[in-house]
Symmetry: C2
Subunit: 575 residues, 2 copies
Amino acid sequence: MRASRFFISTLKEAPSDAEIVSHKLMMRAGMIKRLGAGIYTYMPMGLRVIRKVEAIVREEMNRAGAVELLMPVVQPAELWQETGRWNKMGAELMRVKDRHGRDFAIQPTSEEVVTDVARSELRSYKQLPVNFYHIQTKFRDERRPRFGLMRGREFTMKDAYSFDRDVDGLKKSYQAMYDAYVRIFTRFGLEFRAVAADNGAIGGSGSHEFHVVAATGEDALVYCPTSDYAANMEAAEALPVDSTRGAATQALEKTATPGKSKCEAVAELLGLPLARTVKSIVLAVDNEDPAKKEIWLLLLRGDHELNEVKASKIPGLSTYRFANEAEIVEWFGTPPGYLGPIGTKKPVKVVADRTVANMADFVCGANEADFHYTGANWGRDLPEPLVADIRNVVEGDASPDGKGVLAIQRGIEVGHVFQLGTTYSEAMKATYLDEAGKPQPLVMGCYGIGVTRILGAAIEQNFDDRGIIWPTSIAPFEVVLCPMGYDRSEAVKTEIDKLYAQLSEAGVDVVLDDRGERPGAMFADWELIGVPHRIVVGDRGLKDGNIEYQGRRDTEATQVPLAEALAFIQGKLAA
Amino acid sequence: MRASRFFISTLKEAPSDAEIVSHKLMMRAGMIKRLGAGIYTYMPMGLRVIRKVEAIVREEMNRAGAVELLMPVVQPAELWQETGRWNKMGAELMRVKDRHGRDFAIQPTSEEVVTDVARSELRSYKQLPVNFYHIQTKFRDERRPRFGLMRGREFTMKDAYSFDRDVDGLKKSYQAMYDAYVRIFTRFGLEFRAVAADNGAIGGSGSHEFHVVAATGEDALVYCPTSDYAANMEAAEALPVDSTRGAATQALEKTATPGKSKCEAVAELLGLPLARTVKSIVLAVDNEDPAKKEIWLLLLRGDHELNEVKASKIPGLSTYRFANEAEIVEWFGTPPGYLGPIGTKKPVKVVADRTVANMADFVCGANEADFHYTGANWGRDLPEPLVADIRNVVEGDASPDGKGVLAIQRGIEVGHVFQLGTTYSEAMKATYLDEAGKPQPLVMGCYGIGVTRILGAAIEQNFDDRGIIWPTSIAPFEVVLCPMGYDRSEAVKTEIDKLYAQLSEAGVDVVLDDRGERPGAMFADWELIGVPHRIVVGDRGLKDGNIEYQGRRDTEATQVPLAEALAFIQGKLAA
């Protein structure tokens, strides 16, 4: 590509509404252009990256035996009503009426449509397994779209759906997709991590997320550096800090802690480690009969955090909400700040985190303003609690696989594989006939990759103060040729044109900057855009028969003999 | 591709709602699947064709210097309001509200968005010309979607938009697109015709349509076989059949024509050629002041048809409608059937088609039931009329370029190039700065290709009673390999696997049918699907060292020595 025939539009400053680095850099590099909240035009430079991402996804999906089709953006409401998602999805589902008043959804995903395809096309066990995928425009009406392509409303996603005869088949299809995703993200050249996610319908490790590792990531990834354990924060199992409970050594004592409503302050006042304190979190579960409303007390060690997803999995808590102050006063006899499990005004259900259940001589609120108990002990001062894993793991926790301690890093979710099971096929009566001619529900998996989000994630992981640093495989161009005086020097023009032809001929995705920009502006543009390999051809170097190579992360340039330029670049690209 | 890893789903019968051959064959070949009225899933076999069409379009657009970007499907109403299309577009424009109640359009085209891109990105004459295009999902809420992909609601279109500094520049950009379209349709391997269309905003031949020639086409294409004149029926100029008016030889006479209200019947009764009769068409033009309503009488030769587009271009008739019976009685004193220009009850404006204006001694209605005039002559019996071209041309008419006579064929519109001028840029204040630093409106052109419609059009042109016959360049596969007993014969499996590897290696898009279907079913499938080249490998042929080749249009097979198979196929593909 000659730059003069392309469209390059860079900005010195990012627009003020760009909050994160990838958004700012994509705007400055002219890769995207905002059309409305969470809606972007992909400008030519950005579209090149998207196409490269799509091509890698497509190749690996096909290699894994998935078959590409294309399902519509606008989908009849009837299918969404069959699965109940028409009502369940809420405001995120963009809904539209046609001229005849019929309802349609603008697809955020395509489970319903693909299950409709499957129920009419997949009739016999002989046709299974099948994995259909498409790469298509999606719309999700986010309440607060932001972060550029990271949380847009219109975006491009690859979504695949596998159909198997049974769970064994699903597990094979799932593994094939998991392996394909590993190949895809490896080919992207990004540092990534697959983590177990909240369990799927099938149970076990029925769901994994693929994250691009980035300090700015919204998600916390938990992993064990000395084993292959990895899970997202929601799903990471927290073992008790102490594997057994110590013996009681102190008497229960009500202690004045005036104005110290936080564990940190109480620990400081009492001269105790924070790890000796227990904090109280009060939940409410409503009932149609208000008299049957339940109040639950969840207990966590003072330095631990509640994991809301884990809490919601405790039988009876699936629909919990946090209790309000009036409820707390009614059940505990005191406002928040000094709550605890001993001597509540009305009975509450107590759940202790595994770590709390193994604590002895602990400190907790006394259900009286400005007082705490010290020396509290299970069994002696209060009944044994219901015990559950309800906290977030922290760095240094023991790994659940027993093979080391946990570490945490930040990630951006860009892929998800999920064992759906028969939820959709049963709701939509999507069956196949088995060998005995008996209809059986299709067993499904679904597998997504956020194509446009990859761009944002790649940048969050790879940038510096000059701009983006694309991995070669998804860079808008692999190599940029910068002439020093394309219109001034016959020698420069001749040699760089020749090199451009050589590289193009060899299949290198190269751009020749023939725009006539001054060197400083030209270099700044390509560093901002993030092309990973740059070659400068100038009279000075040519005098010695050299061109100048600089990788985007290199601190200085390398002189390369002109005659070896092609081989040199090919070596760099193969690296 | 191995067929066993692809998804093939053929039907013996087309669904009953498929009205035209391309729709039927695409459904039977498993290329599309209906999701709702005018909304289809592109199944794997159909998507392959779409991707090939897109690839050719993309290559030629890039070659012509256009730059690809991707504009959103969901577009803010504000932009559409700036150009007034939000109101003008009516029910065809699918409208949707987001969760905050803001209005959006689901794009049927992207003039507004691209002009918005242009007004912020194109600041200087130095950046011009630019041509932006995208290949994107469109939605048009047709009142009556039908004919499969021919008149769907959701479809894929390539739309390009050029921006120039002046009309000269626009004409160059337009010509570049015209030439690119010729290359694109040539590469598709389809018989096509470019015809001048209704004039664009710029005047002159500011608009051309590209049609795939097909007997089933909805549009009539007018062309001169001995020159390069070609226009669609709406735009084709009709010259007067006689270039000058003959002298009057008969007296005006009121003749009884009881019950003969049609020109054909009158001509027969009077023993005159139909070409001596004149028919009357009555139009009304409403006015806010009902007293100022105008009634117009349009006169056509008895065997000619009104061209409604031409009529609407007559000054004063842009908002015409056909008059109703009450109006006819009020102005002509008689119900329809015997109307004419002589002796109307109230004054009407008379427009004679050019042919009628040159007629002498003609027959027309007498404005009295059961009576016609014969021997009517302009100037003598009635005033000279306003003369205009208001009829459709017919086969055999003189070509407007004076280089022969016109022929007519049917076509399916698949492309359109259009000189827009400054309509959008002025409405949206999209200007650039000229050399003097003065803002000037961008001069625009727009250029569409109906990507998914190409599939329907290609089939309407290329099919037989066995199925589709794809041109090689857009066939889902170029070559199909059919083994006779893949699982039975070691020799067949070995040789066809080898040939499959050879062809794949050589870059041929080949499918090996390893499904284990019986020969009859296998051949029927691929003939229905329309793969243009078939190779059969069986034990019988192998005995003589042969394989069997048959082109989709061939009536019989050719024996080809196994050793020459690759070269033979490459020869066929290059043909």
